[in-house]
């Protein structure tokens, strides 16, 4: 049984706390009593110690997050213990959050083993409740029960819940089997899959593709660029979660009979690519992220709004120049392409809706750090030091095992501003 | 009806009315029963026999006397102490031992054991493990006989313990009201398991109960074959001729305990020894010798022959195969598809 790490109550009338620092990352091992994280109270910042020895997993609150008292924010697994779906952990905690009272302000308040045991005996830790029919259907459809919420008694997942979920994602996938895709090159074994970012589209990869051809490392390989929903020539389907978009991309890969994928994602596309790498049934061999969204917490909201609402070419150009360090990269062709995309009927509205879901008020509403730490494929991250859309400081949060290529004098478009370097990084991923 | 021993030339009349060969055969059968029981006891004490057994040593005259006049169309029902009845009705010691050893060649293919020996095709409807269990069945068989217009009879054996069971009373009443061809034979060996018949039974003779059911009843010396034979002949003739049922009480004694786990705490050594002095085989052998129906040499030959038969039977049983575990649920139903252990059709 893994040990819960909860946000403890350290003040008498405390109902929530915010995390101001983490001393460990996902996958680190800790000893009981070692510092895990800091929480800020009205009085002071408190260091919270680990309640057990083991490996930290399923961290669900980040620095800056405010979380109700008693919420499970991480789990400590004994070495060799099987990791469970994070949703189980949340369900376990919220159904019966153990009452935690600290005697003094110093003592870390951690639920006793007895309290945890009581919670489990009340059925809180029973795992995912699902009827046999629901389980069978989920198994057949390759769907994780943890992704589905149950409508039955005790939160039990019934067949209809699975069907509805599959229908939604299939519809999404079905719609997205219509996602527009461009084969820049057909190949034999592997395929490089390019996933663009917010408000871009597949043709924006062409400069990089030119650079890649120049590098001479991509003779045998396929290169496939896919338009996200609501972008390029894809339909304006609203997809309100990364998994949905990832499913949609996966459907294209299946449709195109991609056997092995090397994913390359830029900005928001990087988040999509990471999500896809974590859940794809099409084998993914490497992941290359260019200034990915979802590692840090904030982004340039003004830029996003500005681009989607720009009324004339001059205004648009001005916003687009925010993307790069050297404005000469934003040539007429670049602006024209962007303008053309925005001119499609319904496109601006679709982009605005998407922005509201994922970047509202400049805060990223998703976090890919946990997904990244669950990957076993080579991951490289390329970031321009002068990125004004997603600051390179985000990269400081990356685990040390992920290779970072920090490019001086480069903005948010390393694939254009430093095409040759990016091509080389991608080429190295193929080996 | 009182049993009167009418003698002609000092010989009980019945012995003159029955062929000599039948009498010699009766003696042989009694010896066979005795040796069979003793051998079974030996085998048991050597750990060759599963469960327990109920020996009828000392009750041979009752068993043989009541069955020697029957043929294969007649039926018997027997008790848990029924080895003698079965041999009397023609059972083969080979197949009896095989059954005790749980072998496939036993009368019940190893499924029944000592208490359920039967050979329905030859009229043995089976020993029964329930005290009083055989009485209603015997009456049912008698009902079939009557319906089928046959001259057959049913001899229904039970002990003094059964005579207080509801089944005894219900069965005698049924047999009487429907005038069925059944001879009820109570082998009163004085004890149920440990309870003496004096303590268990309201009447001093079981045969008194015949009056309650308006049928003839008689108490006889169950250790004298000639007495048993006389009573049997009368009752069987009455039944065959449509005269209805009779209740015969054979007073006898079991030399051994109730079963192999009996510690004989409920009776005295003196009692056991005094009955031992009235061994029915000794008595009958003596009678046949005195009447000139057999000589000592022939008896010796007879005994040796019985030994051979017993030995051959034991060998047969030991060499026989055990049942296959896969056939566990065979014969639960007739002609049904094979069921699994859980009763699921395959």
């Amino acid at each position: 049984m893994p040990t819960e790490v909860i946000l403890p109550r350290v003040d008498m009338d405390m109902t929530e706390g915010s995390i101001t620092a983490w001393y460990v990352n996902e996958g680190d091992s800790v000893k009981q009593g070692e510092p895990l994280f800091d929480i800020e109270t009205s009085k002071a910042t408190m260091e919270i110690e680990s309640p057990a020895s083991g490996i930290v997993r399923n961290v669900t609150a980040s620095v800056g997050d405010t979380v109700p008292v008693g919420t499970v924010i991480a789990w400590i697994y004994a070495t060799g213990e099987a990791v469970r779906e994070p949703e189980d952990a949340i369900e376990a905690a919220t159904v019966q959050a153990p009452e935690v009272v600290s005697a003094t302000a110093d003592a870390p308040a951690v639920p006793s083993a007895r309290e945890l045991a009581t919670a489990s005996s009340r059925g809180a830790n029973v795992g995912t409740r699902a009827t046999p029919a629901a389980r069978h259907l989920a198994r057949e459809g390759g769907v994780a029960l943890a992704e589905i919420s149950g409508s039955g008694p005790l939160g039990r997942i019934v067949k209809n819940d699975v069907l509805a979920f599959v229908q939604r994602t299939t519809a999404a996938a079905g719609r997205s089997a219509r996602l527009n895709r461009i084969w820049l090159q057909r190949g034999n074994a592997a395929t490089i899959v390019l996933v663009h970012g917010f408000a871009a589209e597949s043709n924006s990869w062409r400069p990089l593709w030119n650079a890649m051809r120049g590098a001479g490392m991509f003779a045998d390989v396929g290169v496939l660029a896919i338009d996200l929903p609501g972008h390029g020539k894809s339909p304006d389907d609203d997809m309100s979660s990364l998994p949905e978009i990832a499913h949609a991309i996966e459907a294209v890969l299946t449709d195109e009979q991609v056997e092995q994928a090397h994913l390359v994602g830029h900005s928001f596309g990087g988040a999509v690519a990471t999500q896809l790498a974590a859940s794809s049934r099409v084998p993914v061999r490497s992941l290359t992220l260019l200034a990915p969204a979802g590692i840090g917490e904030n982004c340039n909201w003004a830029f996003i709004n500005g681009v989607t609402r720009a009324n004339d070419r001059a205004a648009l150009k001005a916003w687009l120049e925010e993307l790069v360090q050297d404005a000469t990269f934003i040539d007429e062709a670049f602006v024209a392409t962007a303008e053309q995309q925005l001119a499609r009927p319904g496109r601006r509205e679709a982009l605005e809706r998407m922005a509201n879901v994922y970047f509202r008020d400049g805060r990223l509403r998703f976090d890919i750090t946990a997904l990244l730490s669950s990957l076993y494929v080579p991951v490289r991250v390329v970031w321009g030091a002068a990125d004004r859309i997603l600051p390179i400081a985000h990269a400081d949060r990356l685990a040390g095992t992920i290779a970072q290529h920090r490019l001086a004098g480069v903005g948010h478009l390393p694939q254009i501003e430093a095409g040759a370097d990016v091509a080389r990084v991608i080429g190295e991923q193929l080996r | 009806m009182e049993c009167v021993e009418d003698k002609v030339d000092g010989t009980p009349a019945i012995l003159r009315r029955v062929p000599e060969s039948a009498l010699r055969d009766a003696l042989r059968k009694m010896i066979l029963v005795r040796r069979f029981e003793e051998s079974a006891e030996q085998a048991y004490m050597r750990g060759l026999i599963h469960g327990t057994m109920h020996l009828s040593i000392g009750q041979e005259a009752s068993a043989i006397g009541m069955t020697m006049l029957l043929n294969d169309d007649d039926y018997i029902t027997s008790t848990h102490r029924g080895h003698g009845h079965c041999i009397g009705k023609g059972a083969d010691p080979k197949r009896m031992f095989a059954e005790f050893f749980g072998k496939e060649t036993g009368y019940c293919h190893g499924r029944g054991g000592s208490m359920h020996i039967a050979d329905v095709s030859r009229g043995n409807l089976g020993a029964n493990g329930i005290v009083g269990g055989g009485l209603p069945i015997a009456v049912g068989a008698a009902l079939s006989i009557k319906k089928q217009g046959r001259q057959s009879v049913v001899v229904c054996f039970f002990g003094d313990g059964a005579n207080n069971e509801g089944a005894f009373h219900e069965s005698l009443n049924f047999a009487a009201i429907w005038k069925l061809p059944v001879v009820f034979v109570c082998e009163n060996n004085r004890y149920g398991m440990s309870m003496s018949v004096e303590r268990s039974t309201a009447v001093s003779h079981v045969s008194q109960r015949a009056a309650a059911y308006d049928m003839p009843g008689a108490t006889i010396d169950g250790n004298r074959l000639s007495d048993v034979l006389q009573a049997a002949a009368d009752a069987i003739a009455r039944a065959r001729n449509g005269g209805g049922p009779t209740l015969i009480e054979c007073e006898t004694y079991r030399i051994r305990g109730h079963s192999k786990s009996d510690r004989n705490r409920y009776r005295t050594r003196e009692e056991i020894e005094s009955w031992g002095a009235r061994d029915p085989i000794t008595l009958f052998e003596k009678q046949l010798l005195e009447c000139g129906f057999i000589d000592a040499a022939a008896v010796q030959v007879m005994r040796a022959d019985v030994e051979d038969e017993i030995k051959a039977a034991l060998d047969f049983a030991q060499e026989s195969p055990s049942p296959e575990v896969g056939e566990l649920t065979r014969d639960v139903y007739s002609g049904a598809p094979e069921l699994t252990r859980q009763g699921v059709s395959q």
Binding site: P153 | H109, G140, G166, S171, S334
Partner: protein
């Protein structure tokens, strides 16, 4: 089921049994009836009326009140070439004959190594609803279904009452027939002449898609009524009349639950350790387990002796409203 060309006519359940007995007595000399008051009186539930007059006292035999020997005589007669039908006046009185039914009839064939069969039929008027109270209202069929060597059936219609009885009389093994008292006056189409309904086979009374109701005896009738009401709610119930509880038609149950994914078992015997427990276990052990989209529901008799007061008596066993309510909650995802 094979019928000669015959006019469509309705008989009561009791008349159907009577007709079956008459046909059997006519066809086979070895068949005869035994029971208390079955002769001139015509039987406590008037099932054997007229048979005594037609076939005489040798074929229709009144017995004294002596169930143990009565049943045992039937066993002994069956072992020796006869085919008796023993009628218990109330199923509750089977308890007096348990020795001969369970220790003798059920076990003879097996204990004796297959050398004999016991082709006896025993009939039991069973069930509650007549105000006969605790000792005259029980549903004990599950006890008998628990005994290897016996066969146990519960016809729910006049058609089946005749067909199953005729099949039982052809069966070489002991067959226990439990007839619900409240069904004796129920009417249904009964073909003329000889026909059999096979033992061990359930019958689908109503096809449906939303849930399966497996029912026995009078509960089959109530389940059909409930299905009519449920249809108005847009709930399509499938009703499987088990008919035979030893042997049980497992495949019919499994197939139905695989189709509908929900199961209610309805039976009058006490709920605990009753036939519904077996049905639920069968499903849980089978491929139908993966089709279940909700827990299995058992509706059985209450955990008390049958009471005398009529409201209590009704409340002690499942009624149509109980079946409707359970089905609504089950299909509505509230169970």
């Amino acid at each position: 089921m094979n019928t000669a060309m015959s006019e469509v006519r309705e008989l009561t359940y009791a008349q159907a049994i009577n007709e079956a007995l008459a046909i059997a007595l006519e066809r086979d000399e070895s068949v005869f009836l035994m029971g208390e008051d079955i002769g001139v009186y015509g039987g406590a539930f008037q099932v054997t009326g007229g048979l005594y007059e037609r076939f005489g006292p040798e074929r229709v035999m009144d017995t004294p009140i002596a169930e143990l020997a009565g049943a045992g005589i039937a066993v002994g007669a069956a072992m020796t070439g006869s085919r008796p039908v023993y009628e218990f006046q109330f199923s509750d009185f089977a308890t007096l004959a348990m020795e001969q039914i369970v220790n003798q009839a059920a076990k003879m064939r097996y204990m004796l190594g297959g050398g004999v069969s016991v082709p006896v039929v025993m009939r039991f008027p069973a069930g509650s609803g007549t105000g006969a109270a605790a000792q005259h209202s029980q549903s004990l069929e599950a006890w008998f279904a628990h005994v290897p060597g016996l066969k146990v059936v519960q016809p729910s219609t006049p058609h089946d009452a005749k067909g199953l009885l005729l099949a039982a009389l052809d069966d070489p093994d002991p067959v226990m027939i439990f007839e619900h008292k409240l069904l004796y006056k129920s009417k249904g189409v009964v073909p003329e002449g000889y026909y059999v309904e096979p033992l061990g086979k359930a019958v689908m009374r109503r096809q449906g898609a939303d849930l399966t109701i497996v029912a026995t005896s009078i509960m089959s009738v109530r389940a059909l009524e409930a299905a009519e009401t449920l249809a108005h709610d847009g709930i399509d119930a499938e009703v499987l009349d088990l008919r035979s509880i030893r042997p049980i038609d497992r495949q019919a149950i499994i197939d139905s639950v695989q189709k509908t994914s929900r199961l209610i078992c309805v039976y009058e015997g006490v709920q605990q350790l009753g036939i519904g427990s077996e049905i639920a276990a069968i499903v849980s052990e089978s491929e139908a387990f993966d089709a279940l989209d909700a827990p299995i529901v058992r509706l059985g008799g209450a955990d008390c002796p049958l009471p005398y007061n009529p409201q209590l008596e009704r409340a002690a066993v499942p009624q149509v409203a109980d079946i409707v309510d359970a089905a609504r909650r089950l299909v509505g995802g509230r169970i």
